[in-house]
């Protein structure tokens, strides 16, 4: 052994060195592979990874803009933002969640629904994110929590803004309401602009002016770590708050109309004929928009939905009623302006009318005994039906349609609240198209008194009245008059939009129609004479009673025998002052009976409120 040791030793060293060199070669190859990998990552793919790393660390947090306020024409807030306090729990700061929940339940009301929502959110949110347990804490609850706060680490009271409608029900249909954004709306809106916003306009002005009220979202760019916790704020793009809106509505008129309707279903619209501003727009019964803001309970909702008076139905825009006799001033004017009749033309009214070739079918006058000899003035003042039966036959349905079209009958007014229906002004062409039938002469007869196919919305009726009062010059009805930038205070006035004027042939014809309306209210035989008494200014108008229930040929309509829901609708169209029209009011009282007794007093209440605010006292 000893002898071979040195030999072996040298051989072993040679072997070892060979193996070391082999190892070095092998590992150099591996190191080159590693360097190649690093070169690929850090040089060739650098831009890609740099982008990924930026995405990793910079998160964009939206700052929702503050929703614009809505004021009435006097600056009274109709829709505001109220601070609301919510109770939030941050899980990672709570040692014993169950004990905390139990302890909180002793201090504030925690419903099972609140707990369910909390437990549901608990698994969706990260440990450092606050989870709401209670929303809309009362002031008392906030105070109690503040006192007991030391007992509950990880429990915070957070402040937010929630939409509030201080005027409540009477303005619900006009202002509308906001509610949580639903799936259909998500498809429609620019999601980026609604990041961080939970609510969106659902109806009324809140819906139509959503874009203006909402504003533009702002952003906070911030560094976050891997679990999304904010580390450092980088920069902030402040949101552009929504514009405040000034409505043309006067909330006092709104309340006056609502009170005057006294619980009856109906609608009231008041328009300034000089610019189309809608001064009041009441659909009764209304609803409290505040119910909808944070999600209406299903119980409250079914109560509203199942109410036979349909409080959610906006009668002003979507209620289509036969106009009844309220169309008579228009047809009177039509007869005069087309030269079909003149102011002296008289018709004998025996209480019924028959077409010359069909003597058997009697078209009744509302007054059984008839009005006797009737000229155009008397036909309006006493609302003689026979006069208009005869006039309609003379005019023919197409001329009636074309004339009424100038006043907007059968067309949407284009008011700046969506959901409006257009009513119906029939014509031969319409019937052929819609019904596939020929026009019958009898249909022309009843169209003359606003029955048959004719339908109007309360808004159309008041808009048409405004055009009539303003002698053919009309403006598109609108409810928003100005937008205000809440930061700069800059106000952008929205100019009224003039409508194509109604062609005027002779002023005397218009005088005749308007004088007749004046006499309706102010002459002893007028159907609305009762509201003329002690009126602050001279009112001109026309009553109407629209049939809901068709009375058979040999039967007689007896109001107190007919079920309330089949009773006639009471209508009234009017304006004031007669000498210088400033306000046109249309009223519909559903199943109210007679226009003169049911609808006209409501208009009078609106006039009283309007002229009281203008400083005009009774007995002008």
């Amino acid at each position: 052994m000893e002898r071979v040791a040195l030999n072996d030793h040298l051989r072993e060293i040679r072997l070892f060195r060979g193996r070391v060199i082999a190892s070095i070669v092998f590992f150099i190859l591996l190191i080159l592979a590693l360097i190649a990998r690093l070169y690929w990552l850090q040089v060739l793919q650098h831009a890609h990874f740099r982008t990924l790393s930026e995405d990793n660390r910079v998160k964009i947090f939206p700052i929702p803009p503050t929703r614009g306020l809505i004021y009435d024409r006097n600056g009274t807030v109709l829709a505001g933002n109220l601070p609301s306090y919510a109770l939030e729990i941050t899980r990672e700061q709570v040692d014993d969640l169950d004990a905390t929940l139990a302890g909180l339940a002793e201090i504030v009301d925690v419903s099972p629904a609140d707990l369910r929502r909390f437990q549901r959110l608990r698994w969706r949110k990260r440990a450092f994110e606050g989870i709401p347990l209670r929303l809309r804490l009362s002031a008392e609850e906030v105070a109690r929590l503040a006192v007991n706060r030391y007992r509950f680490p990880g429990v915070d009271i957070t402040a937010g803004l929630t939409r509030h409608y201080p005027q409540g029900g009477p303005l619900g249909h006009v202002v509308g309401y906001v509610g949580r954004i639903n799936e259909r709306e998500l498809e429609r809106i620019d999601e980026a602009n609604y990041a961080g916003t939970n609510h969106i306009g659902k109806t009324g002005v809140e819906l139509t002016y959503e874009d203006v009220l909402h504003g533009t979202v702002g952003y906070r760019r911030a560094e976050v770590n891997a679990v999304g916790r904010l580390v450092r704020e980088l920069d902030v793009t402040p949101p552009d708050p929504g514009r405040n809106l000034y409505l043309t509505i006067d909330h006092r008129l709104q309340h006056a109309a609502e009170e005057s309707l006294a619980g009856r279903a109906g609608a009231v619209v008041a328009i300034d004929p000089n610019n189309g501003e809608v001064l009041a727009m009441v659909s009764n019964p209304g609803f409290d928009p505040n119910l909808f803001v944070n999600g209406i309970s299903s119980k409250a909702y079914s109560a509203l939905r199942d109410d036979p008076d349909r409080p959610l139905f906006n009668r002003v825009l979507r209620g289509q009623y036969p106009p009844g006799s309220t169309v008579k001033p228009f047809y009177a004017l039509a007869g005069l302006e087309t030269g079909t009749v003149d102011a002296k033309h008289r018709v004998f009214c025996p209480g019924y009318y028959s077409l010359p070739n069909d003597e058997d079918h009697k078209y009744r006058d509302w007054k059984k005994t008839g009005h006797g000899w009737t000229d155009v003035n008397k036909s309006v003042v006493q609302s003689c039906d026979v006069y208009y039966y005869e006039l309609a036959v003379k005019l023919g349905i197409d001329r009636m349609h074309d004339f009424m079209d100038h006043f907007g009958f059968g067309r949407v007014t284009g008011v700046d609240i969506s959901g409006e229906l257009g009513g119906l002004m029939p014509s031969r062409e319409w019937k052929r198209r819609a019904r596939g039938q020929a026009w019958f002469p009898g249909e022309t007869v009843i169209t003359g008194i606003g029955q048959g196919f004719t339908l109007v919305t309360p808004l159309q009726l008041s808009a048409a009245t405004a055009v009539l009062a303003n002698r053919g010059v009309g403006y598109r009805p609108h409810v928003v008059s100005a937008e205000e930038n809440p930061i700069t205070g800059e106000i952008a006035i929205i100019d009224p939009e003039a409508l194509p004027p109604v062609p005027r042939r002779k002023e005397a014809n218009w005088d005749a129609a308007l004088t007749a309306m004046f006499d309706v209210v102010n002459s002893p035989s007028g159907t609305a004479r009762r509201i003329g008494i002690d009126a602050p200014v001279h009112i001109a108008g026309k009553t109407g009673t629209a049939q809901v229930f068709t009375v058979g040929q040999e039967e007689e309509y007896k109001e107190n025998e007919v079920h309330e829901k089949l009773r006639d609708h009471a209508l009234f169209m009017s304006y004031a002052p007669y000498e210088d029209p400033q306000i046109a009011v249309a009223v519909v009282v559903e199943h109210g009976g007679h226009g003169g007794s049911a609808a006209a007093p409501v208009a009078r209440a609106v006039y009283d409120a309007f002229f009281a605010s203008q400083g005009v006292s009774d007995g002008n």
Binding site: M1, E2, V4, A5, L6, D8, H9, R11, E12, I13, L15, F16, R17, R19, V20, S23, I24, F27, L30, I31, A33, L34, I35, R37, L38, Y39, L41, Q42, V43, Q45, H46, H48, F49, R50, L52, S53, N56, R57, E223, V224, N225, A226, V227, V231
Partner: protein, 379 residues
């Protein structure tokens, strides 16, 4: 005892003659310099990975102090002693591995720790040195290259602890120990024919393992390694985030303390196994190359020490320790840069953590002992 006879035949220089402080302490200057540079760099990166807090750095400094003490201590031990200790160390270590499997603590889902009451101890760490020592002794008992049966015996000695550790399960450590044992066999003269044969057999073997030997979750782990995008928030997350960190560093890096991936918590395990990603993000390709160069110099010095060692045992042990150090480096950087699957291997001397640091420094102590306890031969 054959190998240790050799120094006795030469005319060694007498100890203590014209020697500096380092030599008197049995320390190797170039190796020490490399280790200090690496350690300092490691602390700087750790400071950054720790979010600019010094507590990690201070604790790591204490560990470095302990590890340096162990290194200095081991440097005093002549290789002859290590040769004598190897069997006992190996037997004790294997016994402890069995004990760990029986009664060990479970940490991070694996049984690795043995609680001796006053200290928690990881027997697998000791085996990182005990296995190459035992194998080196085993081969050095006969002239090299070893016979087939001696090789087989060595293989058996290696396989027992490797399997015990793999069962804990600690794949990273068992891999390192297996490679340290393999290096002893390879440097000792494992015939190329056997090596080639084993490699050829490995291919169908791997296929059989995949088809019949692996459970679904194990296959999933391999698949995730091959395509981390498949599971970006699960097991692929580490790799995606670390490649983003390295890639976003670019050529020159984002600068010290400016790594966003690491500071914003995107990078998991950033002060331990994935610290190379922090390094790559903050110092870029240039920094990574410099780091690799420092490692190369340390390994090169280790291999030099091995080649000039005077007996087979020292040569094999020193060579194995040096190459295993390189394996540490390559497995860790390969894993962090997405070349290798995720196995828990720290970046040697840089990653935060005490146990592996002490073992590594103990290895360098042995290297220094091998070098400084030489007797100069006439050449």
């Amino acid at each position: 005892m054959r190998a240790l006879d050799i120094p006795l035949t030469g005319r060694g220089s007498s100890p203590g003659q014209r020697r500096g402080l380092l030599a008197r302490m049995h320390l190797d200057g170039p190796l020490l310099l490399g280790l200090f540079v690496l350690g300092g760099l490691g602390l700087a990166v750790l400071y950054s990975a720790g979010g600019g807090h010094t507590d990690l750095v201070v604790r790591q400094l204490l560990r470095i102090g302990l590890a340096v003490a162990v290194m200095v201590l081991l440097a005093q031990v002549p290789p002859r002693r290590l040769y004598q200790w190897s069997p006992w160390l190996f037997i004790a270590g294997t016994g402890l591995l069995v004990a760990v499997l029986a009664v060990g603590d479970i940490g991070k889902g694996a049984q690795r720790w043995l609680d001796l009451g006053f200290v928690r101890f990881q027997p697998s760490e000791a085996m990182k040195l005990a296995v190459p020592m035992m194998l080196a002794r085993h081969l050095a008992q006969k002239p090299l290259p070893p016979s087939f049966w001696r090789l087989l015996g060595g293989l058996l000695l290696m396989v027992v602890p490797v399997l015990l550790i793999a069962k804990q399960p600690d794949l990273g450590t068992s891999l390192l120990i297996a490679s340290s044992g393999f290096f002893v066999l390879f440097l000792g003269g494992l015939s190329w024919r056997l090596l080639g044969g084993a490699t050829v057999l490995a291919v169908p073997g791997a296929w059989i393992l995949w088809e019949y030997g692996m459970k679904d979750y194990q296959r999933q782990r391999v698949l995730t390694f091959l395509n981390p995008q498949e599971d970006p928030l699960g097991s692929g997350y580490h790799i995606i985030q670390s490649t983003i960190a390295i890639g976003s560093g670019g050529t020159y890096g984002k600068g010290w303390l400016n790594g966003t991936q690491s500071h914003l918590d995107f990078l998991p395990e950033r002060s331990t196994d994935f610290i190379f990603a922090v390094f790559g993000e903050e110092f870029g390709l240039i920094g990574a190359l410099v780091l690799l160069l420092i490692y190369m110099l340390i390994v090169g010095r280790g291999l030099y020490i091995a080649t000039v060692a005077q007996d087979s045992f020292s040569r094999l042990l020193a060579g194995s320790i040096s190459l295993t150090f390189l394996v540490y480096l390559l497995v860790n950087t390969g894993m962090v840069s997405g070349l290798l699957p995720v196995v828990g291997v720290p970046l040697p001397l840089v990653s935060y953590g005490g146990t592996s640091l002490v073992t590594l420094m103990a290895g360098f102590g042995i290297l220094m002992a091998v070098h400084t306890h030489r007797r100069l031969l006439p050449t």
